[in-house]
Symmetry: C2
């Protein structure tokens, strides 16, 4: 598996569907890096153009990787070591391309959008299993902007529970998506 | 489906495997209530014997259900309306029993424990589909104590990703578990 994931803090929508750069949260870094470690993600990119937010993310990583946190809770260190902070998506794509020798297939995720580019979970598993490099993109705030969805190669089928309610946190959505894509023997 | 879930803040282990009452966190209430709403949970019990923690949880609910939050973000209101705060597991079991006319099957969850009581996801789905009342128990901190696991009727198979790392947040674990149990057509 050559699977990467990115948490984009820009460009994303706010509640009023304005394009913004959202704030980095400590909880997202912890929860998503632990998911990344569980499901075999090679690198988890935290993307924000805001320098103060990059520094905030770096301070969290430093604490848990090099500081007191590393001895207090080595499991967090092991997870957060998968994180790289980047200022733009393009930079992360170039880094993945350099590392893997080919450009990744960009699969965007969204809570509700329907689009010609929709790919099913089975379809996405097929791409991953074929050995291609796959880069899963998650949006913070009210989700990735249209421009980001256009930029992606595919858009993953939205999660549907048993109700019409589709307002999961990005932490919960990423958990469901990674489990659906990567747990091949999930005992169901 | 007659499915309930509880987030227990006592009795759970801390890092040193001492039995403690953990603190309620706002993020857990938000993420888990949104999961509950997505996956058709009837009531999401937040269980803590600590009165200040009960009050803290009530303040969060009040803000999002009756206060400014209710108009600011009605999706959060809709999710948090499923939450009930209780001081002990027994009280929630009595409440469920009164509501449903029968005692619930208690299914505990844990990151790693193996036990004679282990039930697979398929097994748990069978119980849910049979029409029985099921009460899923999640532990905060370092997980439910042995006494709680003993008390449960079954212990759900731990989540296994693609690595030997099993340190998901309770938010991510609950997301994976509810999706495995409840999304019958998950497009995989």
């Amino acid at each position: 598996m050559r699977l990467y994931m990115g948490l984009l803090h820009y460009p994303v929508y706010n509640k009023r569907r304005q394009t913004i750069a959202s704030a980095v949260t400590s909880m997202d870094l912890h929860d998503l890096s632990r998911l990344a470690r569980t499901y075999g993600i090679k690198t988890f990119y935290v993307v924000t153009p805001l320098e103060d937010q990059q520094r905030f993310a770096e301070r969290i990583l430093d604490h848990w990787i090099k500081g007191y946190g590393a001895t207090y809770n080595p499991h967090r260190k092991e997870a957060l070591e998968l994180v790289r902070i980047a200022s733009a998506l393009d930079i992360t794509i170039r880094e993945i391309t350099a590392e893997e020798g080919e450009a990744p297939v960009l699969i965007a995720t969204d809570a509700s959008r329907r689009d010609a580019k929709i790919i099913t979970y089975r379809g996405a598993m097929g791409i991953i299993d074929s050995g291609k490099v796959v880069y899963l993109l998650f949006g913070t705030g009210w989700g990735l902007t249209e421009s980001m969805i256009k930029r992606a190669d595919c858009l993953l089928d939205p999660i549907e529970g048993v109700s019409d309610y589709n307002h999961l946190s990005v932490r919960a959505a990423a958990a469901v998506i990674l489990d659906r894509l990567m747990s091949r023997d999930r005992g169901v």
